[in-house]
Every structure is written in C-alpha cells, then in structure tokens.
Symmetry: C2
C-alpha cells in the first residue's frame, strides 16, 4: 500500500491529538484512502515533555527546518500558531513543494493572500478546516457540496471562551470579571485572554468565512470588532426579560456588491437555534440562495475535535496524492484570480435594531428628553422598560426599530452628555430578522 509521509510542526495539545488520531484510527484511515499516512517527523522546540502519546525514537526533533527539507515528506501540518515563525515555515514548506494543513486563523486572516497565492503558484494545496469552528466541517461544506450557492449571510459563535463566559453569566447572574477569573482557573480561558474576550480571535475566523462564502479577498483589518467586556449582569437580566440571549456573534452579510462584517455582543431571540449554543460549543449558520439557512454545530476547540479537522484535511490532500492530482480545489474555493475584492462597509453604514440601557436620575421628563434625542436622529422606539430604582442611577432600557448605526452613535453621544445621565449608556445590537 502506498505510503504518504506527513510532518508535524508544533507538538502541543492539538499536535498530540493529531498523533493520537493517526495512531488510533490508522486502519480506518488507510481503508478510506487506500494509502497509509506515516507521521515521519514532529518538530517542536520542547523535545522532552511527555505528551502522553507514544512516538518512535528519532521522530521528535527540535529543528523544523530539518522536517521542511525532508524530500520524503509531502504534507506539513503547522500547529504552532501565531505569526512567526509559523509564516516562514509555511512559506518555506510551499517553496519546497509540500502541501499544508494548518489551524492558524491569525496567520491566515492577516497573511492569507500572500500564503494562498504562494500555494497556488507553487501547485500545492493548503487546507485549514481546524482554523474555524474546531472540529465542525464548515469550510469544507462551503467549498464543497454547498458551492453552487450565492451566500447572503454568515453568522457564527466562534469563540468557546466567550461563549462559556456569556453562558455562565446568563445562567448564574454573575459578573464578567468573576466568571472570567473562574474560567481561567478551570483552564477555559487563557492567562492572557485578550484575543478571545476582545473578539479578535472571532474576527480572524470571520475573515476566513467571508472569503470562502462571499468569494472575496480576505480583509481582516476592515472587520469591526467589539468584545464582551462591557456586558454587565444587568444587561443579562434585561436580555432574559425581553426574550433574548446575548452572544458574541460574528456577522457577515453580502448583497453581491459590498460586505457587512462585524463581531460584537448581539442579542438573539430565544427561539433561534444559535441562542441555544451553550458553553464551549461553536455554531455557524449560513444562508445560501438555494440551500436556504443551514446550521453547523459542534466542539469549537479542544485536542480531539481539532485533530479531527486537521487529519480530515490531511486525508483530503492524501486522496489527491493517491489520485495523482493537485489543486483540485483552490484554497478559497475559487479558481485562481476569480475572487473579487468587495468593499467592507464601515460600522457607521450598517443598520440594526438596538438595545440601549441608560442610567439616569429619577426625575420627571428624563424619558421625554431621551426619546426626543433619539427621534431627532431618526431612531424610533419599539419598546421601553423602566424598572424600579437600583442604586443611584435608575436604569431605562429602550429597544429600537431598525436604525442607522451612525445615527445611534450621534444620539448616544448627545444623550450621554445630558446632566441627568449618570452612567455612560450601553447599547447591544439585536439580530432578530433572519431569513
């Protein structure tokens, strides 16, 4: 039986999962491929820690360059993450004619254009299913069986740390800081959680989804990104009362001319399947012009689910090697040069419905002034709640009809300057008008 040699760079959690999977399901894999996958070398700067998986003497080396130069290796798995040296390794592997499988969303969101072009020109493949949604095979579905669709909407819960925190906050009426601390102690959040809680990781993943779904070049820098740090327990209470869940949602919309791309806390109606995605799970909902709405749900991270996506990609490339073809599907699903460069709208240009919370003094006429300021900016109110006083500031919550973000920005700036407003307002966008 034909043997296909694989090299792995990065022997951390996911790397160990990949080794485990290649060992445990070896026979299953060769029954499907008609070829054997041989993990010939693993490169990691740490060659001593016991990862709990057996590897043969001589397989683990410290110098990735040795592996990149090995002429017997056809597929390189890059799992070190971050920008450098990952980028250099990937480009060198491509230059050496090796196919790439990576889970590195940060690298591809920022340098994908350069890397994909190098892969296309070099006649090698690059697959990255594990970069978005962990084990959920959503990228393969967009490039594969759903390829005939013109997609109009992509929505995603793509960061397990944020979803875990928001789920806990909602279930336990707890404050953000306390839940984050607990999550860190349990290992559900990094010691430095910035990339997760500020929405950056979600935006990296959205950048890749947009490119695949809308056939446009990757444009990470234009994605509006807002994290979950400003969500208060009181917002969770109001959300519950109003029939919503708050999720950190990646939103992509495309009308064929321009793209709306944003990551921010979002209120979702309770009866939406996305509202029901709990804890560390991820979900992606796409709407295509023919397939309609389709949702994918599963483990968005973790050693074993991520390894499933990585090895699935390796098998896809291996099938091409067995069949003797290359570049059967381009990295973003479109043939070379057919990807468009659609502009991404600024956040001010979008329209949404809004939840707004104001902390005001308890005196007559306050609501009239707020309503007046909103009206002056073409924002109509759909409903309002003014609960009993808590603390110094009385909260007023307003749900608006669809309004322009630029009008909302202007109105809130004006309202926040009123004397009777004691706290800076909070506003959360609402997504409840899905096709």
């Amino acid at each position: 039986m034909k043997e296909i040699n694989v090299g792995l760079i990065g022997f951390g959690t996911v790397g160990s999962g990949v080794v485990k999977l290649l060992q445990e399901n070896k026979d299953l894999i060769s029954d499907k491929l008609g070829a054997k996958l041989i993990l010939k070398k693993i490169a990691d700067i740490d060659t001593t820690t016991d990862r709990g998986v057996y590897i043969e003497e001589g397989v683990l080396i410290s110098d990735a360059n040795e592996l990149l130069a090995d002429p017997e290796i056809s597929i390189i798995i890059e799992l070190i993450g971050g920008y450098e040296p990952a980028k250099s390794f990937v480009l060198k592997a491509i230059a050496n004619g090796k196919h790439i499988v990576t889970a590195n969303k940060a690298l591809l969101a920022l340098h994908g254009d350069e890397i994909f072009t190098a892969a296309l020109n070099g006649g090698v493949e690059i697959l990255f299913e594990a970069a978005v949604g962990g084990g959920i095979p959503v990228l393969a579905a967009i490039k594969g069986n759903m390829a005939a669709n013109r997609f109009t909407t992509v929505l995603g819960i793509l960061n397990g740390t944020c979803n875990y925190i928001l789920t806990k906050m909602a279930d336990e009426r707890a404050d953000f800081d306390d839940v984050l601390k607990a999550a860190q102690e349990l290992g559900y959040a990094e010691a430095d959680p910035t990339f997760d809680i500020e929405g950056t990781d979600t935006a990296h993943k959205l950048a890749l989804l947009l490119a695949l779904a809308f056939g446009s070049k990757i444009n990470f820098s234009r994605i509006y990104t807002e994290g979950i740090t400003s969500i208060a327990a009181i917002d969770m209470d109001f959300a519950r009362q109003l029939g919503y869940k708050i999720k950190l949602l990646a939103i992509g919309k495309c009308d064929g001319e321009k793209i709306e791309a944003r990551v921010h806390p979002t209120m979702l109606p309770l009866n939406y399947p996305l509202a029901d995605v709990k804890g560390a799970f991820n979900a992606i909902r796409l709407t295509g012009d023919f397939v309609g709405p389709v949702m994918f749900y599963g483990s968005g991270a973790g050693m074993k689910p991520t390894a499933s996506a990585v090895v699935g990609d390796v098998m896809d490339i291996a099938r091409n090697i067995v069949a003797g073809v290359g570049n059967r599907v381009a990295p973003l699903g479109f043939i070379k040069d057919s990807a468009k460069s659609l502009p991404i709208m600024g956040i001010g240009e979008i329209r949404s419905r809004y939840y707004m919370r104001f902390g005001v003094t308890d005196q007559p006429g306050v609501l009239a002034r707020i309503a007046g300021a909103l009206g002056e900016h073409n924002i109509s109110i759909k409903s309002m709640i003014q609960p009993t006083k808590t603390g110094n500031a009385v909260p007023i919550v307003i749900i608006t009809h669809e309004a322009a973000e630029k009008d909302v920005i202007a109105a809130l700036e004006k309202i926040d300057a009123f004397d009777m407003v004691l706290e800076k307002s909070n506003r959360i966008r609402i997504e409840d008008n899905l096709e």
Copy 2:
C-alpha cells in the same frame, strides 16, 4: 473554458430547481470550477407542462435512452425517484461510462450495493447528497472532513412531513388524523403519505447514513421501522409535562462489532438541540470518537435546497473531470471491498428507557399489578404519573429506567391481557443519554 455536459432525467419539482440553479448561478459555478456546466438534455415523459424555467428548443426530450446514449454527456442526474425505471437508467448510464448524481434514497437503500459495485467497476462516480437531509451537506462531511473518525452514533430527523405533523400536534394539541389532513391540503404531505408516516422514507435515509458512518454494507431490510400513526394527542400532553418532545428519530449506533438501527417515535429532552427542530426542517447529529458530537441542520426537502445538494454533487464530479481523475472517493467513502458487513441487531436486543401509557379501570391495586408485572420482567420504574380520570379509562404513565426491549415486549403483552386494562398500552422509547 472547458465545457462539461450534463443530462437530467426527471423534470419535476427538484429537476426544475436544478435547471434554475444552473442558470442563475452559472458564473459563480464556472468561477469555482474553471469549467462550464452545460445542461445538454432533459428527459421527462411530460414534455409539455410549463415548469416556469426557460429551456432552449430541443433540450427537453421524452426518451431518457437518447440522453443516456449521448456520448457528449459525462454526468447524468437522476431525479425520477422510485425503483424502476430509475434503476435501469442508472445502470445503463454507468455502463455507458457516465457519472451519476441522484436524490433517490429508496433506490439506493434497496439496490445500493449493486449500483455502487457497478459504478466502482465501471470507473465512474455516484454521489447522492440530496438523498439524505435535502440541502444539508452531511454525507459529504462524513466522507470528507470527518473521515478520520470512528462514528458511534447517528441520530436524524430526516422526514419533513413527519416532523411537520409532530410539531403541529405538539403546538396545537391536535390529533394525528386532523393534522395529516391539514398537511395534505397544504401540500406538506402526499396524497398517499404511507412512505412518510410509516417511517419507510426515514429508514431509507438511515440505511445510507449507517453505511457511510459505520463503513458497513447497506442493509435496509434489517432496520426496525415504526411510524408516527400511533402517537395520540394525550402522549403529546404527557411528553410536554415530562419535559420531552416526540420526534420521529432515525437512530444508528455502532460499537465496532454490531449495529443498532431503528426508526421510531422517540422522546427527546427539551434541552436537546434535536428536540428543537421544527416543521419541515431536518437535522442530523453524529458522534465521532475524535470530533465528538456534531449537528447539521437545514431544509430537508424542497425545490431549491435539494437542487443545491444535487448541483453541489455535480460540481464535485466536474472538479474531478477538470483535474482528470476518477473515483477519488468511493461511493461510501471506503476503498473497494474495505466495507465490512456488520450485523444489525434485532429490535428485541436493544436497550432503552421507555415511556409507557396504560388505560385502566379506576380501582385500587391496578398500579401494583402493573408495577409487579414490570418488575417480574426486570423493568424498574423511574417515575409515574396518574392524572385525574378522562373518559372511561384512567391513564397511568410510567417512565422506566433502561430496560431490554424484549422484556418490555413481554411485560406489555402480559399487562395488556389484564382485565382492568381497557386500552392497548402505548410505549415510546426515550433517548436522553447522549454522549
């Protein structure tokens, strides 16, 4: 640009959707393929009805054999459904060296072995994504990115008609017969709904899912199948009260040695995403040893979603034609002859938790006798409800701990023979122990 000629047999609802999709998204498709898909001929015995789509003069013909004999056509789409003449057409197309795309679950569930063997021997491909879950790309995911997994469980809500009826019954506390009649008037159920409501259509789809997920040969005849006709409004009431939804569920489980395969009404806890699948939507939940649980959700039928899956398959084959390869992935995902023949367990051998409803006379000692009979057959009771009397028979509802089906059959037979039992008991299996 290279042109790939496609022939369509069956110009009904889905066939019209395929024509529409090939026309509307023509440019998108060629941007992805680097080739043009040309619908060269459509065969249908009805060549006069207006399907609301434009086709050029001479494309629509009445004789499928003409299309099957056309040497310029590389891919045949079979959308006539049923066994014959579909089977003869498909086998003839394979004999003529043409690739096949079909949505015909009934044909493949019964004659898949013969057809797949013919395709493998003939060096042509056969894809059938649209046969299971309409537009949901679940088969491609099992054969594709999730291929490295050993699957242990497959659960599916696979029949839109049944799910629509059960959703209506639950929401409107209506009886089966009334909802079926309304569904027929609205076109959501066929004039002869037998295949749907008796579970046969769901079992056809399960047969295909099992073969793909567990790598075993198709074995439709061994799938235990029970439809939804015995579900009463009162069962819906109790389900609600107990925190369950009743769904027609396709269940496949595999421990590597044997397969459990059954289709029947099933109680699912309200907090399961599957319990929340409404109306004509479909969902499939798979558990793999590495990916963990993954769920796919979308439109399980209809002109446009089904067309999405059909054209997605056509594009997959077209990519192989462009690349100059064939049989890159075998019909069931395993290379020739590597599929096993795992035995499917008889229904008596399975274990489950059960909901049991008895209609008894209102007299002391009834519950004791029922409980005694259950105990004699090793069935322990988890909870019991005895509501106030309705009609002549007093309902008693029992939820059991896990028990063997063969014991349940024996116990219910015994209990149903008691004098004080006025109605035949109803039992619904419960699935609430998902990994």
